[in-house]
Amino acid sequence: MALSQEEVLAGLAELITDETGISADEVALEKSFTDDLDIDSISMMTIVVNAEEKFGVTIPDDEVKNLKTVGDAVTFITSNQS
C-alpha cells in the first residue's frame, strides 16, 4: 500500500531528526538538504540507506545528487514505492 506524500514527509523527517537532531518541524518540502538543513554528504548517505529500508525503495547512487530538497526526495520516494 503506497504511502501519501504527507506520510513520506513525516517518515523522512523522523530519519533526518534521528541522524542530525534537526527538529521535525524544520523539515519542509522546500528545504534544501545542504543549504537549509546543513546536512553533510555522509549524513545524506546515511539518511538514504535508512530511507531505502523504511520505504522499501531503491535510491540509485546517481539519483541521490538530484535530490536537492526534501521535496525532491519525497517525490522520488512517493513515485517509486512498490
Binding site: D18, E19, G21, I42, T46, V49
Partner: protein
C-alpha cells in the same frame, strides 16, 4: 633548557563503578563491585561459557545527544564522556588549537560497529551497510573525534598495546609535552568490547573467571582461589599539562606525572615472561625518569587481573625491583572492583592512583579470600593509610603482545 615538569589538571571516567571519576572513586572506596550477570539475549543464544561482566554503570548513549552518539562506536562514546568530564574538571582551559594534543588509546577498537555491520551485510546486503561504518570502527576513532570536539590540532595519536594501551598513551603524552609538541594533552584510553566474540575468545583461552553464579566476587586478584579476569568496559581521561602552563592559568594540580616506562617482552604473544623481566624494566625506567629510587615508592596500583599466572608473575617482577620491601608497600588491585577495562584500564587506574596519593589512602582490594602465598602483596579489603609525607606511586599495565607500561605519579 630544562625538561618541563608535567602535571595532571583534570580527570574523567565512565566505568563499571560510575558515570564519572568521583562516582567511580566513591564506589571503589566503598568496596563495590561492578560485575553483574549479563542480561542480553545473546548470552543464552550462543551458550556462552561466561555469563557476566563489569558493564559500565551508565550507558553512554544515554549521556550523549542522539546525533552525537549515533556517529560514535560505544568505545568512542565512553572516550567522549570521560574527556568532556576531564576537560571541565581542568577548567575548560583556553589553549591555542595548535598547542592542544590528543593521545587516546584503545585495545580493540570498534568491535561492535564492525560486527553489527557484518551482520547487516549478511542479512540485508551491501546497500544497508552504513557509510559511517569504517570511520566508527577504526581504532583512532576516539582520538580523531576528541580532536574534532576539543579543537585539538597539535596531534591526535592512538597507541594500541592491548591492556597496556592507555598507560602507554599517558607515557606518550608526557613525552609529547616534554618534547614541546603541545602545552596540553588529552590522554587516556577506552574500550567497549563486551561482545559475544571477545567473551568466547577469552573464555576459549581460559583467561576469564567462570564464577557465573557469583559475579560480584569473581574478580579476586591475589586470592588463592582466583580463576581468571572479569571483562569490563569504559574509559578514563586525564588532562596533562606542562607545569608552567597550568600555573600560568591558575589551574588546580592533582599530581605530577614524574615518570613513565614502556618495554616489550619478546617472549610470547599472550603469556608473560615467567621472570617478569620486561615488566621490571618498565618499572625501573619509570623510576629512573622520575629520578627516584625504589625506596621512594609509597603506593602501587598493580595490574593484577586475577588470572592464576599473571598475579604471581607481577609479584616476581616487582620483587626484582623492590626487593623484600615490596611486601611493605601498600598495593591496590582495583580490578577486583572494576573488572578489566582492557584498553581503558590503565587510564582508569591512573586516576585511582592520583586520587590515592592525593588523599593519602590506597583504595581497597575487595574479594580477598585467602591470600595466595605466591602473591604476598600488602593489600587489604579496607583503604590503607599512606601517611602524611610526599607520595610517589606507580601504576602498572601489561598487555597481550608482550607490552609493559608503567607510569609514576607524585604529590610534589
Amino acid at each position: 633548557m630544562t625538561t618541563p615538569r608535567i602535571v595532571v589538571t583534570g580527570i574523567g571516567a565512565s566505568s563499571p563503578l560510575g558515570g564519572t571519576a568521583p562516582e567511580s572513586w566513591s564506589g571503589l572506596l566503598a568496596g563495590e563491585s561492578g560485575a553483574r550477570s549479563l542480561e542480553h539475549e545473546w548470552v543464552a543464544k550462543y551458550e556462552l561459557p561466561v555469563t557476566f561482566a563489569a558493564e559500565a554503570k551508565v550507558r553512554p548513549e544515554e549521556v550523549l545527544a542522539r546525533p552525537v552518539a549515533k556517529r560514535l562506536d560505544p568505545a568512542s562514546q565512553f572516550a567522549m564522556i570521560a574527556a568532556m568530564e576531564a576537560w571541565e574538571d581542568a577548567g575548560a582551559p583556553d589553549v591555542e588549537p595548535d598547542r592542544l594534543g590528543v593521545d587516546f588509546a584503545t585495545g580493540i577498537g570498534g568491535v561492535w560497529t564492525l560486527l553489527d555491520a557484518w551482520d547487516t551485510l549478511r542479512e540485508k546486503g551491501p546497500r544497508r551497510v552504513m557509510p559511517m561504518t569504517v570511520p566508527m570502527l577504526m581504532p583512532n576513532a576516539a582520538a580523531g573525534n576528541l580532536s574534532l570536539h576539543f579543537g585539538a590540532r597539535a596531534f591526535a595519536r592512538t597507541v594500541a598495546s592491548a591492556c597496556a594501551s592507555s598507560t602507554e598513551s599517558i607515557v606518550n603524552a608526557v613525552e609529547h609535552l616534554q618534547d614541546g609538541l603541545a602545552d596540553i594533552v588529552i590522554a587516556g584510553g577506552t574500550e567497549s568490547a563486551i561482545h559475544p566474540i571477545t567473551i568466547a575468545s577469552f573464555a576459549s583461552m581460559q583467561a576469564l573467571s567462570r564464577r557465573n553464579d557469583d559475579p560480584a566476587t569473581a574478580s579476586r586478584p591475589c586470592s588463592v582461589d582466583r580463576d581468571g579476569f572479569v571483562m569490563g568496559e569504559g574509559a578514563g581521561a586525564l588532562i596533562l599539562e606542562t607545569e608552567e602552563h597550568a600555573k600560568a592559568r591558575g589551574a588546580k594540580i592533582y599530581a605530577y606525572v614524574v615518570g613513565g616506562g614502556v618495554t616489550a617482552d619478546s617472549y610470547h604473544i599472550t603469556a608473560n615472561d615467567p621472570e617478569g623481566r620486561g615488566a621490571a624494566r618498565a618499572v625501573r625506567l619509570a623510576l629512573d625518569m622520575a629520578g627516584a629510587s625504589p625506596d621512594d615508592v609509597t603506593h602501587i596500583n598493580a595490574h593484577a587481573t586475577s588470572t592464576p599466572v599473571g598475579d604471581p608473575n607481577e609479584y616476581q617482577a616487582l620483587r626484582a625491583v623492590f626487593g623484600a620491601r615490596i611486601d611493605e608497600i601498600p598495593v591496590s588491585a582495583t580490578k577486583a572492583s572494576t573488572g578489566h577495562l582492557l584498553g581503558g584500564t590503565g587510564a582508569l587506574e591512573a586516576i585511582f592512583t592520583i586520587l590515592a596519593i592525593g588523599q593519602r589512602q590506597a583504595p581497597p582490594t575487595i574479594n580477598l579470600t585467602t591470600q595466595d602465598p605466591e602473591v604476598p602483596f600488602r593489600i587489604s579489603g579496607s583503604p590503607q593509610d599512606l601517611g602524611a609525607g610526599d607520595q610517589l606511586a606507580i601504576s602498572n599495565s601489561f598487555g597481550f603482545g608482550g607490552h609493559n607500561a608503567v607510569v609514576a605519579f607524585a604529590t610534589a
